[in-house]
């Protein structure tokens, strides 16, 4: 079920500034699309408009070819999993799942069949009679998922569903969501600011910033071929080092692309002093003062803090950006004037 947002504009009541304007997005049928971006970029607004929980100021939303711009959330054939689970606190696990199905006017026998099915699928059978207050965060999230699954929707919308879980459980739930996506074969739209979630689960990533789409593509495309400086610096841990050149263009390289020995195809070099060394377990992260700012290096090699070195990058690892901060494939040769950060 493809979902299309066409020329969407959103102004929240009581404000005059639109949070997004002329927003166009196509979510492919059967894709696991992740809307990724920093806080306030409009990703949750976009998701809530698709769900019908937010009114659209202008523009159209199509789900499976039908214009649903003014259709009630319950009639859009979608299910949503909220960040705070949004399970009914006064109903048992079974009651939470049944509530929606009863509203869809399904026979009692069929409701029981479906409820038992999703309870088994999500491993909640033994907890069916419990109240939400008696469940852990992970179990509550499962109830929210089970409730969404019970409706057999054409699309699942998820608003940062793992952000309230601890790191271990988050990793486990990521794997379970991937399995669920593979098993159900329906469209998943997932909102997060966590790039690890995006890169590990998505088939399609939409990187957003200030109500605009900065890039849409597969995780590999977005990671390896950023379309602009924002994406280059937002994706990666940490993001790309970007240096402003004298001709107003930019050159960028990932922290892992820097090396101490000149490569055969060495096209770039910069001298700097190691300021700090952080041990990450399998490698080190260094902050380097290059005179016009600070860059970051990640390597398995141990270098002493305080020492000065010349660092090199392979030509194949360099990304160039024009003065509008968009990607260009024309190599730029000019003196480095400043280390650049998109949010500065």
């Amino acid at each position: 079920m493809a979902i299309i947002l066409e020329g969407v504009k959103k102004i929240y009541p009581g404000t005059t500034e639109p949070v997004m304007e002329d927003f166009n997005l196509t979510i492919k049928d059967g894709s696991f699309t992740v809307l990724l971006g920093p806080s306030g970029c409009g990703k949750t607004t976009a998701l809530r408009m698709i769900a019908g929980l937010e009114e659209v100021t202008a523009g159209k939303i199509y789900i499976d070819g039908a214009d649903v711009t003014t259709v009630d959330p319950g009639a859009r054939n979608i299910a949503m999993v909220f960040q705070n689970y949004a399970i009914y606190p006064h109903m048992t696990v079974r009651g939470n799942i049944e509530f929606g199905l009863k509203n869809y006017k399904i026979t009692k026998a069929k409701i029981q069949e479906r409820v038992n099915g999703v309870l088994a699928q999500t491993g909640l059978t033994d907890l069916a009679g419990r109240m939400p207050a008696q469940l852990s965060g992970g179990q509550r999230q499962r109830v929210a998922l089970a409730r969404a699954m019970s409706k057999s929707p054409m699309a699942f919308l998820m608003d940062e569903p793992l952000s309230n879980l601890d790191a271990k459980l988050r990793s486990q739930m990521r794997s379970e969501l991937i399995q669920l996506f593979d098993a159900l074969g329906v469209t998943f739209i997932y909102v997060t600011h966590d790039q690890t979630e995006a890169l590990t689960m998505a088939t399609d990533i939409v990187v957003m910033y200030e109500g605009r789409i900065m890039q849409q593509g597969t995780p590999q495309e977005v990671y390896e071929n950023p379309a602009n400086i924002f994406v280059a610096q937002f994706i990666g841990d940490p993001g790309m080092n970007v240096l402003k050149l004298k001709n107003e263009a930019f050159v960028g390289f990932k922290p892992r692309a820097l090396r101490l020995v000149r490569p055969a195809n060495g096209d770039f070099e910069i001298a700097g002093q190691i300021l700090t060394r952080e041990f990450l377990g399998h490698e080190y992260m260094y902050t380097i003062d290059v005179g016009c700012g600070r860059i970051v290096l990640r390597t398995g090699q141990m270098i002493d803090a305080g020492t000065t070195h010349t660092f090199y990058a392979d030509a194949a690892d360099l990304c160039y950006f024009d003065k509008n901060q968009n990607r260009t494939f024309e190599p730029q040769q000019a003196k480095v004037v400043q280390v650049f950060h998109v949010d500065e």
């Binding site: 929980l53 009630d72 319950g74 909220f82 949004a86 006064h90 929606g100 509203n103």
Partner: protein
């Protein structure tokens, strides 16, 4: 002697002095015995709550003359008098009817108005403020206003009834409508407070629950009965308990408007107790009626907690 040694000696001396002081010793003893710490609260409770109850219980078995301060033991005579008294049973019936209507009508109106006014708009906030005003006005003023509004001859309420083509009523002066009259006044006075409590209860229900219900295709009435009311149950339970107790103890509206009404038509237990004690001088009977009121209030509160409490969903 070094500076450090001097400081140490001084501190030790201070400590010894402190340990010798009576206050320190008393505090130390008190801390070893926790009952000493809660003794003030226990003394106040014994003096202000427990003693009056037991005194009242004792007095209910006596012929108590407040002026000569004499207590003549009469056994169950006061209770026997009440149990065969037609006036007492009429008053009991009135009190129960008043309680049921006051609680049901009050809470229904509170919820309806609360849901209607639960919008953060200037007009709604203004109505809320206006509605809360009667709660902070003295019952004497409220009674005066309503006595004027309910004037049988030229009151506004009858004028409105006539415009609507209905017959005039004698309101608080008639045996048929005096109980209804005091109910209207009591409901009107308590409405603002109840609505405010309901609104605060409604605002504590998280918005995402309603969003989940919208996605679950729940209609507005379904959402109200299956989501709002159950999640409002702690608030409603609080209102039920406080309304039951306050309706049993209603005195002022009766005293100010009807004085029990013709043929005890609007007499309530609290006013009946006042009549028996302060108007007729039967303090023993008044105490017996008070004991019955205490038992009724306790039983109903217990039943409330036992049964209604089970349906309360705390988030």
């Amino acid at each position: 002697m070094s500076m450090n040694d001097t400081t140490a000696t001084l501190s030790r001396e201070r400590l010894e002095l402190k340990e010798r002081s009576w206050f320190y010793k008393a505090l130390n003893t008190a801390l070893k015995c926790p009952y000493v710490l809660i003794a003030p609260a226990i003394i106040v409770a014994l003096w202000m709550v427990i003693y009056p109850i037991f005194f009242g219980l004792y007095a209910s078995f006596t012929k108590w003359d407040m002026f000569t301060k004499s207590f003549t033991w009469v056994g169950l005579a006061n209770y026997k008098f009440l149990l065969v008294s037609e006036d007492f049973w009429k008053t009991m019936g009135n009190t129960l009817l008043y309680m049921v209507v006051f609680v049901l009508a009050g809470i229904s109106l509170n919820v309806l108005l609360g849901v209607f006014l639960n919008k953060n708009k200037p007009a709604h906030n203004l109505i809320q403020t206006i509605m809360f005003t009667p709660h902070i006005i003295s019952f004497v003023s409220v009674a005066l206003i309503w006595l004027w509004l309910m004037q049988p001859a030229n009151g506004i309420l009858n004028y409105v009834l006539n415009i609507l083509g209905l017959k005039s009523s004698y309101w608080y002066r008639s045996a048929d409508s005096s109980l209804l009259s005091i109910l209207i006044v009591a409901l009107w006075k308590g409405m603002g407070y109840g609505v405010l409590v309901v609104i605060s209860g409604l605002r504590s229900i998280p918005q995402y629950v309603y969003e989940a219900a919208r996605l679950d295709k729940s209609s507005k009435p379904n959402t109200f009965f299956k989501i709002t009311l159950p999640l409002l149950s702690p608030t409603l339970f609080f209102l039920i308990v406080t309304s039951v107790v306050s309706s049993f103890c209603t005195y002022d509206v009766v005293a100010l408007m009807t004085k029990g009404g013709t043929d005890n038509s609007s007499n309530l237990l609290a006013y009946y107790i006042y009549q028996q004690g302060f108007l007729f001088g039967h303090f023993g009977r008044a105490m017996a009626a008070s004991m019955i009121l205490l038992v009724m209030t306790s039983v109903i509160s217990f039943l409330n907690f036992k049964f209604a409490g089970k349906e309360v969903h705390y988030q």
